[in-house]
């Protein structure tokens, strides 16, 4: 354990990380935003789910540096008098949860399908990849919208609000798995012909063991890169769906929902209700994207 840690810190990956200040900054931003939203209960100035903590009288207050602003509400308040900073922290929690689990599920589906398709070949591969092709013909956001629409249509109305987050996660992961499947499949097809796999065959190892013990670890590199970039995309997709009104309901708002709600006040001059959640979203996504970009270049042996 200590040995492999030492190896990591002496390695090229750590070095390329440390030598780029922007990447370090992005990592710090990501970590602190994740931390702040996971522990929103302790970090946020107010609990937005506690009705006693906000007051309609405080509604639509601007950020503290503006006229009428109060230091108690750093980034102002929304129409119901909720502190915008607190709603952002709680909202990021929803956004990150949805993003994170969607990526995990998409990854699991994609890796499994990709491994099976790439290793078996033949008609299994043909069928799986045709499905992937058809799905790839449509933008992920459209698939997510459709899946969301269909599931919501199947669910009874009263359950929709409670299950919204799960529906979202299902919709996003069902629209994202194709990327992993295609990448894993093509790497599997490359790995399958390599001699270490043939050596495992000669030893007599059964197929599942070869797939999971030998091939899987060797195709994980690109998967991790996609996962980081997809995390950013999943957060954006969640926000977009919520913005379009088919995501999480305003009762447990995500960043997208906050922006949607605030959008109505844009023309009457209360810009902070939209702009601050929007900025939080952009900063989060940008930080994750910078990490993904760096990881892709650092793991690409051709660029060294």
């Amino acid at each position: 354990m200590i040995d492999s840690l030492r190896r990591f810190f002496a390695g090229d990956l750590w070095w390329s990380f440390r030598s780029s200040p922007i990447v370090v900054l992005a990592a710090m931003t990501t970590v602190s935003m994740v931390f702040a939203s996971v522990f929103a209960n302790f970090v946020a100035p107010y609990d937005i789910f506690d009705l006693t903590q906000f007051n309609l009288m405080d509604g639509l207050k601007p950020p503290f540096w503006m006229e009428r602003g109060e230091i108690g509400f750093l980034l102002g308040t929304d129409d119901q008098g909720r502190d915008v900073l607190s709603t952002i922290l709680y909202g990021s929690r929803v956004s990150l949860t949805v993003g994170f689990f969607s990526v995990i599920f998409a990854m699991l589906i994609g890796i499994f399908v990709g491994l099976v398709a790439g290793y078996s070949g033949g008609w299994i591969d043909a069928v799986l990849m045709r499905i992937a092709d058809v799905q790839l013909s449509f933008p992920a956001i459209l698939i997510a919208l459709l899946v969301d629409g269909i599931i919501s249509g199947l669910l009874p109305d009263q359950a929709q609000g409670e299950l919204a987050i799960y529906v979202l996660i299902a919709a996003i992961s069902l629209s994202f798995w194709v990327q992993y499947a295609r990448t894993v499949r093509s790497s599997t097809m490359v790995e399958r012909t390599k001699e270490y796999v043939q050596a495992a065959q000669v030893i007599g190892l059964p197929k599942p063991l070869i797939l999971f013990r030998h091939i899987l670890p060797n195709v994980m590199g690109p998967v991790l890169v996609i996962a980081t970039i997809q995390l950013a995309l999943a957060i954006i997709t969640e926000a977009t769906l919520s913005f379009l009104g088919v995501g999480v309901p305003p009762t447990s708002p995500s960043l997208g929902t906050l922006i949607r709600v605030g959008n109505d006040y844009l023309f009457s001059g209360e810009w902070w209700i939209t702009v601050f959640p929007g900025l939080a979203l952009v900063i989060l996504v940008l930080a994750v994207n910078i990490l993904g970009d760096w990881l892709r270049d650092a793991l690409n042996p051709k660029l060294r």
């Binding site: 449509f138 956001i141 629409g149 977009t240 009104g245 844009l266």
Partner: protein
């Protein structure tokens, strides 16, 4: 050549069939068409009549056959909510979406391709680096936020541009266009830019990555060792080879613009198909959803076919009999 096109057509038909199957399944299993069409006070007997009239008592295969037969003729039934034929709704909304998508596709291509080539060729210059930073911000900006920020600055604060709708449109009988009036163009600016940004950044990054890959190949090194000019190496050797893989993906991206327009249209209240679709989802208006899906599938297949023919004319390796 014919064989190649034939195979592509076969694949396209397969895609369309799959999409039709999904659209049909939505009809069949999501919600009950009868209760959607019938009012609260319709009697059971009337419902059964309606069921028979809609052909819902026939076998699934028959229904699917009829569904496809109708779809080919542009018949998608009636909207559950609006009680008008879906085909009329689509025909009314289609021009708005197509014009918006075409204008932003042009923006994305005209700005994106040169930027991508530049960042690959001069990858260590400060301009290329700032392009790359910009493109990273570009892919991190959700489309709807770009729209909102644009509205805030140019619509609300500066009040230069209209924030919703198509402006004045000219009705040509079979087509309504906003491209013939000044207010139409003014209304187009913000939505088109909003829609173009994401595609543009993708194009920049894609072209850069592919071109860097090509610049590392042996034939580029050999061209350099033969003393060819940098200009010729960059443009007639590297760029053309870059385009081969890039063209497919760009084609797909442009195809997806029409679907991406959903977001832009709902931010700017642009009266296109996307807005129609998003409203349909909210109301579980299945006929509109499935018609939209089929239309998008068709556009995609069409673009793919065009891309394949382009591909064919660029890459000689495809032209030989294998």
């Amino acid at each position: 050549m014919l064989f190649f096109i034939g195979r592509r057509l076969y694949q396209a038909a397969l895609v369309m069939l799959t999409v039709a199957l999904v659209a049909f399944a939505m009809f069949q299993y999501v919600g009950d068409p009868v209760s959607n069409l019938a009012g609260q006070d319709t009697t059971v007997a009337d419902r059964e009549l309606l069921r028979e009239a809609l052909g819902l008592n026939d076998s699934v295969l028959e229904q699917f056959g009829r569904f496809i037969f109708n779809a080919v003729q542009g018949e998608f039934g009636q909207s559950y909510r609006m009680r008008v034929p879906v085909s009329d709704l689509i025909a009314e909304r289609f021009p708005a979406t197509l014009e918006l998508s075409l204008v932003s596709a042009l923006i994305a291509l005209i700005v994106g391709i040169p930027m991508g080539v530049y960042t690959a060729l001069r990858r260590n210059s400060w301009l290329a680096r700032s392009f790359m930073t910009l493109s990273l911000i570009g892919i991190s900006l959700p489309t709807f936020l770009i729209g909102i920020f644009l509205i805030l600055f140019f619509g609300v604060i500066l009040q230069w541009l209209p924030t919703f709708g198509r402006g004045q449109v000219v009705d040509l009988g079979w087509w309504t266009t906003g491209l013939l009036t000044a207010s139409g163009w003014k209304s187009m600016i913000m939505p088109a830019i909003t829609l173009a940004v994401f595609q543009m950044t993708l194009i920049v990054r894609l072209i850069r990555a592919e071109m860097l890959e090509v610049l590392r190949t042996d034939y580029i090194k050999f061209a350099r060792a033969r003393g060819l000019t940098e200009r010729s190496i960059s443009f007639s050797h590297a760029l053309k080879n870059t385009l081969v893989p890039v063209i497919t993906i760009i084609g797909l991206q442009i195809g997806s613009l029409i679907a991406f327009a959903i977001i832009t249209e709902s931010v700017f209240q642009w009266p296109g198909m996307g807005l129609l679709f998003i409203q349909a989802i909210g109301e579980v208006d299945i006929p509109i959803m499935s018609a939209y899906l089929l239309l998008i599938g068709f556009v995609f297949v069409l673009i793919n076919l065009i891309v394949d023919i382009l591909y064919f004319s660029i890459d000689p390796r495809l032209r030989v009999e294998r």
